[in-house]
Amino acid sequence: MDATILGAAVINGLLLGGSYALVAVGLTLIYGVLHIINFAHGSMLMLAMYGVYFLLVKAQVDPYAAIPLMVVVMYAAGYGMYRALIGRFSHGKDENILLITLGLSIVLENIALFFFTGDSRNITVSYSDRMIELGPSLVPLPKLVSFGASLLLCAALAWFIARTDTGRAIRAVAKERHGARLVGIDVEKILAVSYGIGIACLGAAACLLVPMFYVAPTVGHLFVIVAFTIVVLGGMGSFLGALVGALLIGLTESLSGLFLGEALGQIGISLIFILILLFRPTGLFGGGR
């Protein structure tokens, strides 16, 4: 095996992992606080990607320039969805939240199918095919931007969760709701904020993905299955775990693609998933509760 090819695969894998990171961090945040897998995660990412697509096609807004707008819009969508549907109909039961998000994903996907048809759409921006020399290999500019911006945004979010009062309240609600109520934290609001932030991550992820990926009503599945594996690998609810997990999964996908052939790249991911469940169900950074 040629070292250059291997090096290129490693770089490619890390970059790929970077684009998974935001999706996984959003998923793990929602899991950590609400204790449920957000089944609507993929559909919300898909909607966000259509949003970015139409912003470019109809209003000539560059995907990267759309990040602030998409973050705000998706935050509001997540917050509103929690307040209007999830919180209201869950009656405080986690299983109900699970079912509601599952139902939402089905509805959203079919709405997308109805309005946008099943065709996959691609965009081209001036920098779509620009290549940057990185050590031994040439990498497409969008991949590099996606990696950098994704890590930057994850770091900003980690800072927010660690250092602000709202961040502390989010962590408090995650583990001790009763105590949180008694210090005057509006628990329902914090749950909605957490869900909103998790969905806002998808807004940013969509902006970074659209310049290098097609958009279709089912595109969310691809990312969510991978993101779910990342979250389990890193440890459910662990922030750092999601980040490290994303890079590892990106590497795995790229390397198994190299050794097993492009079409079989995702086999490595499923394999890792099974191995974690067998040998370390709490994940790499999981507390094991």
Binding site: D165, A169, R171, A180, R181, L182, V183, G184, I185, D186
Partner: protein, 233 residues
Amino acid sequence: MLEVRGLAAGYGEIRVLDGVDIDVAEGEIVAVLGSNGVGKSTLNNNLSGLYRPFGGTVRFCGADITGADPVRIVEMGLVQVPEGRRVFPNLSVRENLLLGSYRRGRANRARNLERVTATFPRLKERFGQMAATLSGGEQQMLAIGRGMMSEPRLLILDEPSLGLSPMLVDEMFALIRELNGQGLSILLIEQNAVQSLEAAHRGYIIEHGAVAMSGKAADLAANPDLRARYLGL
């Protein structure tokens, strides 16, 4: 400052309290005593707004807070230190204290943090540690310290001596007197009748969902009937 009148409360179909009257005046320590399962925590949770009472009224500092939500109740300065501490296990001691002033007392956060750590030097030593790693006694201190951070006008202490060693129980009651000496009104919910009545000004005994006896703490402690049943003397 706290007036509870005819409070009826419970869970779902089950009525635990039926017509409870309790008063706490400014600067008092008032003990609410009763055996396990008599509804002491039900009383608390209704005062703090975690549950809505079935009936009756709760007034605090002149305002009707019957059925108000916990956010508003904390905002008004009625703060509960719950049974079982309920500290945030995944947050550091410092962060637990900071969150104490999430809703109230934020302007004086730095000053109150100094004050609480002066009262509990042990917390200062453990400042960066996760609350989950503290001993039971330290967690109780942290829970009280977190309550103090919100500059309460009335502090409800639910079973503060539960699960503490006899020496720590003594310390706890000394602390309750000390806080009261600084002007804080305290509603003390306890099973430990002997020490509660020593510390309190007045007391209430709850039985069968209602107040069975009330009066000056010293009188209650001297009541022969009560001594036999609650004090084991």
